[in-house]
């Protein structure tokens, strides 16, 4: 508060930041490239990701197969590219669901307070207490494989992180004098919370959701690796690691290592971008 005041009163100090912008730019570029590749994957993939060529199974990189071929004779590069779609779409679903539902819950709890706050906070704490992966495994084992069930399950599991953050931000924002000023003007609580409080806290929540994206990607890949995520033939990074197990045993690890690398780099990139955004929001001159 005091530092904020200091910075505000001296416009010259606002521009000072120690930045590691090169790392952020590389990661942002990587994320952008990844999204672009995922969108155009069906057109640029050199082979059909499910076309089996048993004759060249476990072959190393070559002109026809730049990233080699897996144990079932499928082109690894094509599977990586097309697999990026499922691997990014899944976490996106988790993040969208958990953000929308979490913000709604957190906003209602923080703004309204009282019994509603107790009810919603205890409810989300209950979800917190239950491991997200376990929840997902439970739902998948009931509904069978497919992307929808694990995404929904993880969405519910991630909801408390978002709703708790939102609630605490709303509690702080609600105390700001501008909220009272709108009350005196005759605006209703709903109007104030949706039109003013929400936009003011949104950047922080979105930065957190970006970080959540990375975690959701790992969780979904883990489920796929356990055979609980996407159906067997769908190209997906987690599934590729699972399929590559036998290739590693045969001494040809490339078809398992590449999707691992893709997962790790994507998660790191999303975390760096999210952290940076969170930092920028925290330092924002209000």
């Amino acid at each position: 508060m005091t530092t904020a005041t200091l910075i505000r009163r001296r416009p010259g100090l606002a521009g000072i930041r120690t930045d590691r912008s090169w790392l952020f730019r590389i990661c942002l570029g990587f994320v952008a490239l990844l999204v672009l590749l995922a969108i155009v994957a069906p057109w640029i993939a050199p082979h059909d990701p499910n076309a089996v060529d048993l004759g060249s199974a476990l072959a190393g990189p070559s002109g026809a197969h730049p990233a080699g071929v897996d144990a079932s004779g499928r082109d690894t590069l094509s599977r990586l590219l097309v697999g990026a779609r499922t691997s990014l779409l899944g976490p996106l679903g988790v993040v969208v669901f958990s953000t929308v539902a979490g913000v709604a819950v957190g906003l209602a709890a923080g703004w309204r307070g009282g019994w509603l706050d107790s009810l919603l906070s205890r409810g989300t704490e209950l979800v917190f207490a239950f491991p997200g992966m376990l929840l997902a495994i439970l739902i998948v084992s009931v509904y069978g494989p497919g992307l929808t069930a694990p995404v929904l399950a993880l969405g519910v599991a991630y909801l408390p992180y978002v709703s708790r953050l939102t609630r605490s931000l709303v509690l702080a924002e609600r105390e700001r004098p501008y909220v009272e000023a709108y009350r005196v003007q005759g605006h209703s609580g709903l109007q104030i919370s949706l039109r003013h409080v929400l936009p003011n806290i949104a950047p922080v929540v979105l930065a957190q959701s970006t970080i959540n994206f990375g975690y959701a990607l790992i969780d979904l890949a883990g489920l796929s690796f356990l055979g609980l995520g996407v159906p067997p033939l769908t190209p997906d990074w987690g599934r590729m690691v699972f399929d590559g197990e036998s290739a590693i045993q045969s001494g040809y690890p490339l078809s398992a290592i590449l999707p691992c690398l893709a997962i790790v780099m994507t998660v790191v990139a999303f975390n760096v971008v999210g952290e940076r955004w969170a930092d920028q929001v925290a330092r924002r001159d209000r």
Binding site: T2, R10, P11, G12, L13, A14, G15, I16
Partner: protein
């Protein structure tokens, strides 16, 4: 109130504080935030540094302890007891902050850790920086609390259990712990109620006499500055606009800014009705300054004011202490005052 006599007697090695030509540059600004500040405080003297927000008054007082914002580049000399603060190594700087100069901040609540007892807060600096044994430090804390009119039961209290006025007295006791020769008070009464303000100011004045410290009192309140200080410096846009003995400066201001500030303050004695407000805004840090920084808001301004920055020159003689103003038209101002 003052014990100093000769003009410039307070400069030199025996001054408690002697700032010479202090310039401070911050990254991302078009002009220095402090531009050639000269300021002295003699032992046992109370000097007020008056200015509005952004004038550089707080930065000036903070630079005495070298509490500078990140990336700041300082030029000039800041001599405390004859030694240059800007050239000190970390050890000397710590000794300076523990023993020689102490600062009292505007908001005592923000300057204390709510989870530490007052006793810990008071003795911490002595125990850690000067290796004074805990018992001895506590003994001194009790004596200092007594000096500010608080009992030793306060030692065991937490900041949250004290009122703002009491806490500011604790801050003053903390400032006295290292037996400093100079106290820097940065708007020490702004966060307090008016009746509490009187108490804190009276206390500071008492202690200054009792402990022989110099006091640099930073404030935005001209009335307060006039009431308590021997000499006053008025700052505007990082420069000293006017300086002189308190009484003379307020009765016969020789810089249009000082005069405008006096006229725009709603006072109990002035005639009622519209205030003589100063139009416009102080110059932004993003804006380079040529000439006098006050020229755009000044009704005496002529071409020379926008072309050439006025030097801080003597405007009145026959005084034991110099009265200086940085204005090309300060003689015109006397006439204006005489007419009014």
């Amino acid at each position: 109130m003052s014990t100093t006599t000769e003009p410039h007697a307070s400069t030199g090695p025996d001054a408690a504080l002697d700032i010479r030509g202090l310039r401070l540059n911050l990254p991302g600004t078009a002009r220095p935030v402090l531009d050639g500040v000269d300021l002295t405080v003699a032992p046992r003297e109370t000097v007020a540094l008056v200015g509005e927000s952004g004038s550089g008054k707080s930065l000036t007082s903070r630079s005495v302890l070298r509490l500078l914002p990140p990336g700041a580049v300082a030029e000039g000399r800041v001599l405390v007891e004859g030694r240059d603060v800007l050239a000190m190594n970390p050890g000397e700087l710590r000794r300076l902050r523990t023993h020689t100069a102490a600062m009292i901040f505007q908001d005592p609540r923000a300057a204390t850790n709510p989870l530490r007892r007052i006793g810990d807060f008071l003795t911490e600096s002595l125990r850690l920086n000067a290796q004074v044994p805990a018992e001895e430090a506590t003994e001194r804390a009790v004596r200092m609390l007594d000096a500010v009119g608080l009992g030793d039961h306060v030692l065991r209290r937490y900041p949250g259990q004290l009122s703002g006025g009491m806490l500011q007295r604790v801050m003053i006791a903390a400032a006295l712990m290292g037996d400093p020769t100079l106290i820097l008070a940065d708007e020490p009464t702004t966060a307090l109620d008016v009746t509490t303000q009187a108490e804190v100011v009276g206390l500071l004045d008492d202690l200054r006499g009792q402990f022989g410290t110099g006091l640099l009192f930073v404030t935005h309140d001209l009335g307060l500055a006039a009431a308590i200080s021997d000499r006053v410096y008025v700052m505007y846009a990082g420069r000293i606009a006017e300086t002189g003995p308190a009484e003379e400066l307020f009765q016969r201001p020789r810089h249009p800014y000082t005069r405008a500030l006096l006229d725009s303050t709603p006072r109990l004695t002035a005639p009622r009705g519209r205030l003589a407000a100063i139009g416009g805004q102080p110059p932004s840090l993003r804006q380079e300054l040529t000439g006098c920084p006050f020229a755009p808001r000044c009704r005496l301004a002529t071409d020379v004011c926008t072309e050439r920055a006025p030097a801080l020159i003597p405007v009145a003689d026959g005084n034991p202490q110099p009265h200086l103003a940085a204005c090309h038209h300060s003689d015109q101002l006397t006439e204006v005052t005489a007419d009014a």
